[in-house]
Symmetry: C2
Subunit: 568 residues, 2 copies
């Protein structure tokens, strides 16, 4: 026998989780005892629940699964936007909510952290909108329900929610010793897979150029190895969507850059769109990653590798999981490489461009900033870029091998990356973390800086201080007062959140100052907090193109109807 | 003709709203233009949406109605816990959400700030769980729907949510000039009201003592005037529940203190429970306000004045709104005052007790702190006390005439009061604001301090620094590490959030230091930020009693079933 919470934690630990994020509350306190007493788990308390949810999301993106514990009502709802973001961007987080004792619920008692209307189903109904599965534990169903929803999280790459009444959390259940072995993908249908491979072989046979457009599901469904195998064939040109930047090794000679429809660099767009065969792998063709639905990917020349099925020029093969589909394509390409194109005729796109010689005292622009920062990135770095000028600037740089870009291209919740960096650093302490975030975004979640300091983590944190919501200025009426934010003294922020000599504060306003600051950061052994000052209306060129394209899209009839896609 | 947003804003301004809270986002930017251009409205940008929702709630508690504008998905869900709190505590906030253009929704387009699954109904489904009405505006329905849901907010004293697609927000509707006249109460049924009054007259005729237990609906449904009329009769002893502290003038000789079931001061409990007739007015008998359902209010001796109906010893009269019910009771009591008790035989409860003479250098406890602070409160002050040691300490002091206590007794979301203070100060700049909040709670919403500084507001803000979540320590395993939080340097906090010489920082660790600090605060013309240091396990006595009573309640069969009540 073991307690329900012990059983739950053993399942999470068995799947590789080592840290549990959250905030204590009276309904979850007994659960936290089990976390604290667990030999393989560490409790990471956050300053608030939204931050904790973001941290669990960042953790899950690196570790494959994350866990969050909050209290009923106030806690879970504070975390909701973080869980919704995990849902939108396919990140598996197990959200455990401490709930009122089960007898209280059965009596419809008007207890705190509820609406005192006796309706305890409101909260599961909310959770059902932003998670792939929900469970209300009882002592009778606990082990079955825990196994069920945790499996949904792992398989669907989506968050799930588990309500644990306070009394149930400490009740006993029979322990199960069977190994909890969950694959992330459905099993392949071998007949369909063979048919698909044969069709692909024919379809690719006469192609003299093949492009591969990579989406984030390749990462989420653990298919990076199969992707690398395709790249090793040397006969496809690969581009990434913004949600997948870093999934293709950008030092590969056949990496052709970021594809974003009509706003892509011209050579990237032509390489992708004009190939004889266009292979899409795990893509989500949402508005921002496609420059406002401006992608032009001829359906008749396409092989689409979806999460659970694959199709060729519109003919669909069910039961072909993404990794299997990629493997089949790799087999075909390795068997008959000669007929396809070899090394991409590179222009400058997606690569460091000719070294500029700007005035050392010239004010920084986002593009100048990113050019400089990108020279300081190292292989395997985790680069976090928050929505706005940070994220859209980051899309334009070349990443070193093994480096990843983490941000929210589609859910796009400002402030997400600051706690997400915390989570990711705990998930893999061997990788360096660099966070770039605008001042408006940083204001939403800044208190989590205290947790970095408390835990002794040492990222490079760059605040792009452009005096407000610059991305919104770029979209609409740049001078409007509602784009302004409170002016903080960023140099005092680290000390306020608990830093003594544990944080190095730096500031840069010009190219020369930034170069110096990055040199200092390079050798600094502490957390570096770098404020980079920019003009309120200085935007990355890529963002200008995106906004221009999306605003046009918003004002015309779109081709969305013909581009409808099956969403996983 | 006028734009949909203009129409909406004219309705809000017509109901007395002067400030609109929120955070900009691309889907709501065109709406913000109308706010900025409106002669009678001011935009108050917050650091994040949860804080904005809390601010709108604080505003509504003082002004009668609040308004919040967020963006789709990320913004509205970040605000959700704030809106849910308004729902739980019956505070009318109109939550306006900028949504994707209506054509995008009709095409089920995978756009940012959604789950890219084409299901745009997820967000209204979530809103339906925490608001009393929801509207999805189109150019056809806009004016009808705006009128409908705003009326629900005003009448039900609950939040409502309005989704405004970006294109709809600027589309034209026919303006309506009719005055938007909404009462907060349903109309009385005159027959029922007369029957109720006659029954009350008989019921009260032979009573030699009458107690009146006041709940927060008396405030929410605008019935303070009728309550005062009852008090002027001089023949009832009035107590308040925690949600209604401040609603009865605590300098009234017949005010008998805070009633919280078995954990009330003995004289208060006896005065309420042992009266010949017990009148409850607008009460919500939830767990925390009743000391864990420990109230003993004999149903056979009771007159219950509900929001929409009244009952006497179980016989219900429908169609008797709270204010009318109070007025009827006042009429009866004024007509036949002689038969009832007169001035309450006061003991020490609910009043400043004999002046203590503690060691000047002794460490502060919550009760010593509150005793000192209460001497500095002035008539009409707005006192904000956050969940935990702050709120439960505040319940034990006597408020000056016209002063209010604002906190969340039932929803109990930590951090709420910091932004709520901001909102309330804008709602009534003529009243002084004093905020008391624990360090753990303050960490959740601290960034809103920047908005106080930006707007030049000058509250007295007291941080009770007890090194973690003291209320949770009191509930469960005080030494557990999960109660700990990051240690901030509170003295650096104001400067970090933008204060130059605009904020006075003070610190107190002993009785003498606190007395000095409060003297300084008294004459200071700036925002005062006072850190009061306490031991991690120092708790107000009232909180100890509450936790003890609730934990006992959680472990025994409760009388909840027999105490079920109709929730408004």
């Amino acid at each position: 026998m073991q307690a329900v919470t012990e059983y739950l934690l053993s399942r999470l630990a068995g799947l590789g989780i080592e840290h549990v994020f959250g905030v204590p509350g009276d309904y979850n306190l007994p659960m936290l005892d089990f976390v604290e007493d667990h030999p393989d788990l560490q409790w990471i308390g956050s300053a608030n629940e939204l931050n904790a949810a973001y941290a669990a999301d960042g953790y899950a993106r690196v570790k494959g699964l994350g866990a969050l514990v909050t209290t009923y009502g106030v806690g879970e709802l504070s975390a909701l936007n973080g869980i919704a973001g995990a849902y939108a961007e396919s990140v598996p987080v197990v959200h455990v909510v401490g709930a009122p004792p089960i007898e209280m619920q059965r009596w419809h008692a008007p207890v705190h952290h509820t609406f005192c209307d006796g309706d305890f189903d409101r909260f599961p109904r909310i959770a059902a909108q932003v998670t792939a599965a929900q469970a209300n534990l009882t002592t009778e169903n606990a082990s079955d329900e825990i196994d069920r929803v945790v499996e949904v999280a792992v398989r669907s790459r989506k968050p799930v929610q588990i309500f644990v009444p306070r009394d149930v959390s400490v009740a006993n259940v029979r322990a199960r010793n069977k190994i909890f072995n969950i694959g992330t993908s459905k099993r392949a249908d071998n007949g369909q897979l063979t048919a698909f491979r044969q069709h692909a072989e024919t379809f690719l046979a006469s192609a003299t150029s093949v492009s591969l457009l990579v989406g984030h599901f390749v990462d989420r469904y653990g298919a990076r190895k199969e992707l690398r195998w395709i790249m090793e064939s040397g006969v496809v040109w690969a581009a990434v969507l913004s949600m997948a930047k870093g999934v293709v090794d950008e030092t590969d000679p056949n990496f052709v850059g970021l594809y974003a429809g009509s706003i892509s660099d011209r050579t990237t767009r032509e390489a992708v769109e004009e190939a004889d065969v266009i292979i899409t792998a795990g893509v989500l063709l949402a508005d921002t990653p496609t420059g406002g639905f401006s992608h032009r990917l001829d359906p008749n020349r396409r092989i689409d590798l979806g999460v659970d099925d694959a199709s060729i020029a519109g003919k669909t093969y069910e039961g072909v999981p993404l990794a299997e589909g990629l493997k089949a394509i790799a087999q075909v390409l390795h068997a008959h490489p000669a007929s396809h194109a070899t090394v991409f005729r590179r222009s400058s796109n997606g690569k460091p461009q000719s070294v500029d010689r700007p005035q050392p005292d010239a004010c920084l622009t986002p593009d100048l900033f990113w050019k400089r920062l990108s020279r300081n990135l190292r292989p395997r770095d985790m680069l976090f870029a928050d929505q706005g000028t940070a994220f859209y600037g980051a899309l334009n740089i070349a990443l070193p091998a093994g480096a990843d870009l983490i941000g929210q291209a589609v859910w796009a919740s400002i402030g997400y990356t600051l706690p997400a960096t915390l989570g990711a650093m705990l998930a893999d302490p061997s990788r360096r973390a660099v966070l770039v975030i605008g001042d408006g975004a940083a204001q939403t979640t800044i208190q989590e800086l205290g947790t970095f300091i408390r835990l002794g983590l040492k990222p490079l944190i760059v605040i792009l201080n452009n005096d407000g919501y610059t991305v919104e200025r770029a979209i609409h009426r740049p001078e409007a007062a509602y784009h302004d934010i409170a002016r903080w003294n960023w140099s005092s922020i680290p000390a306020a959140f608990g830093a003594d000599d544990t944080v190095r504060f730096l500031r840069a306003q010009t190219n020369a100052e930034l170069d110096r600051a990055l040199q200092v950061a390079e050798i600094e052994q502490r957390l570096v907090f770098l404020e980079v000052e920019m003009e309120p209306q200085a935007t990355p060129k890529f963002m200008d193109r995106l906004i221009d394209s999306m605003m046009k899209g918003a004002n015309k009839s779109l081709d969305v109807r013909s581009e409808r896609q099956a969403m996983p």
